[in-house]
């Protein structure tokens, strides 16, 4: 197979690159052992432009390989972009790579209907907000791109992340990077932060520093966005803690304090355990536990 010297191709032209990140340790190990086996695709120019094989090129450069097998693709630029997208679809693309596909198609002047079609193929809902989120992700700073890929954020969450100003986004990424966040906990965190920003106009990130996990961040944010609800939650937790309920008696209150009724459940293996649980509940009733809980679920002193 014919090879081309890396110094003979336009390595910095990333017009058709939809791969992110380019560094791939598995591929690097493979190239180190076997060399580049699959030829890269080039557009015929004075200085040929690479269409497919950016990761292979990167691995070769890191390993000091000077020449690569290649094939010339005698196609136009739009076809070249579709070829690059199609070539990469043989593996699962991450969110940033999907964003690159969409953004590059738009930049190349494809009709929105064509872009929507590719979005559907990529498993994305062909909606305006998702398209905008993809463009934001494609243009994002490297810190944001890496975060999106590392946490496998879907574009719906990327949209929320890019609702914030760049400085705020940096703080959010720093904060979330310092603790373990799942997609769902990050979503909740972002929603509370959006709410806080709308309510107060700004977020005081210093208040969130030192939180030891995602739940601590969530609680701290919720205290600021929902002070009354947080107060009810704290009062309930205090009452239940003071009541020292045995593990087989559960008292559940609607987390929104909307339903006035509470659920009490007990687990028993025999009649004696039932009698003991009922006695415990009777004692707690006498001590006013349930009256105090009902005051919380009714939400306000009774009208006189």
């Amino acid at each position: 197979m014919e090879t081309v010297g890396i110094d003979k191709i336009h390595v910095n032209d990333r017009s058709f690159c939809v791969s992110y990140p380019l560094e791939d340790e598995l591929l690097l190990a493979s190239v180190a052992k076997f060399g580049v086996l699959v030829p890269i695709g080039l557009l015929r120019r004075d200085y040929p432009v690479i269409v497919t094989g950016f990761k292979r090129l990167e691995a070769a450069r890191r390993l000091g390989i000077g020449a690569l097998p290649y094939v010339f693709l005698d196609i136009g630029e739009r076809q070249a972009l579709l070829t690059a997208i199609h070539d990469n679809m043989s593996r699962p693309l991450n969110t940033v790579e999907k964003a690159f596909c969409i953004n590059k198609m738009l930049a190349a002047g494809f009709a929105v209907e064509d872009v929507h079609e590719v979005m559907t193929t990529l498993g994305l809902p062909p909606r305006e907000n998702i398209l905008k989120a993809a463009v934001s992700a494609a243009w994002a700073e490297d810190e944001a791109k890496s975060f999106i890929v590392k946490h496998q954020l879907p574009l719906s969450l990327v949209e929320q992340l890019f609702w914030f100003e760049p400085g705020e986004r940096h703080e959010i990424i720093r904060l979330a990077g310092a603790v373990q966040v799942s997609i769902s906990s990050f979503r909740e965190m972002l929603q509370l932060m959006m709410l806080l920003k709308v309510k107060r106009g700004a977020i005081d990130f210093r208040q969130l520093d030192g939180a030891k996990d995602a739940d601590a961040i969530r609680r701290s944010l919720k205290k600021q966005t929902h002070p009354l609800l947080s107060d009810l939650e704290e009062k309930l937790a205090g009452l239940l803690s003071a009541a020292a309920l045995p593990p087989h008696i559960k008292v559940r209150v609607d987390p929104a304090f909307e339903k006035e009724s509470i659920d009490i459940s007990l687990r028993a293996g025999n009649s004696r355990e039932i009698e003991e649980a009922l006695k415990k509940l009777e004692r707690l009733t006498g001590q006013g536990l349930f009256r105090s809980i009902f005051e919380l679920t009714h939400g306000t002193p009774h009208r006189v």
């Binding site: 609702w163 929603q191 959006m194 709410l195 920003k197 709308v198 309510k199 106009g201 966005t225 929902h226 002070p227 009354l228 609800l229 009810l232 929104a256 304090f257 909307e258 339903k259 006035e260 009714h298 939400g299 306000t300 009774h302 009208r303």
Partner: protein
Amino acid sequence: MSLPTVRRIESEGSVVRDCPGTRKHICCGYKTIDLIEGCPLSCSYCILRGYLNNPGISVRTDTGAVIEEIDRAIASEETHVLRFGTGELSDSLALDESLRVNGPVARFFGERRKALLELKSKWAALDHLRPSLNPYVVVSFSVAPQRMIDAEEKRTSPVSGRLRALKKAQDWGCFVGLHFDPVIIYEGFEKDYADLIDEIAGTLDLKRVIWVSVGCLRFTPPLMKLFLRESRANLLHGEFIMGEDGKFRYLKTERVRVYRMLYDRLLEKEPGLFVYLCMERADVWDEATGREIETSEDLTTCFDRRIGQFYGGSFAWDSTKRASQGT
């Protein structure tokens, strides 16, 4: 007002429906007549922004068929005085001066004299309807402090204009309604609402206000996303929880506080006012008003009594039927 794209349609299914209400909350048993779907007023909090995916406006033009359907609904009702409204999927008056769809329906109610039509609006243009108005048409306006109208109901009439229109309707012999809905909690809302109630009491004859509804802001999850995206600080100022009906509502303790404040203030102005809560829980009714309204049927019965007070024997209702059912 510039008219948005209006699509005229005929006979696309049923036009008279029960108000959709909301799960686990008490509904007043209203019937909606969907003469127009879509609204040009574009209030920021409007539930239609989450419900209707067609940005245009469609108007039913087959008035005869619509009236027949209303007539059938009235004829089949044996227990309650039916109340109909054209302001569920649109504003009753915003487009009426151009489209003239309410007039024939209003005249029908005046001839039928067995049910009420409520025209519910934020658009104070009533003069064109005067020849069609009659005692069986209740003219209602949603009211809010002018500060909220300026911020969130930008294309609607000012509150003073709405009150003037209501006063005019009273002068013409109509009963009128008021809707404090949605009540929005924002910094200083208590004083603004107190001033608003003073203004209402100074403008209208409260003894001829047939009903007043109060409902706190509530909205679906897609609207929450929209409000966040649009940074709607007024709408998101309060503290929201997810209600049992899957809609965001203010925390119960806050709702009760708001309802008590408005209820007490309104009754202070006119002890005989009939004030009801829109889409609320039985326990909130109890805490806020001290009235035991346990079911939607309880509330509908309250409406029957209220209508009886206002219309008495002039209402063409089969009193023997009501007596036999003990209402």
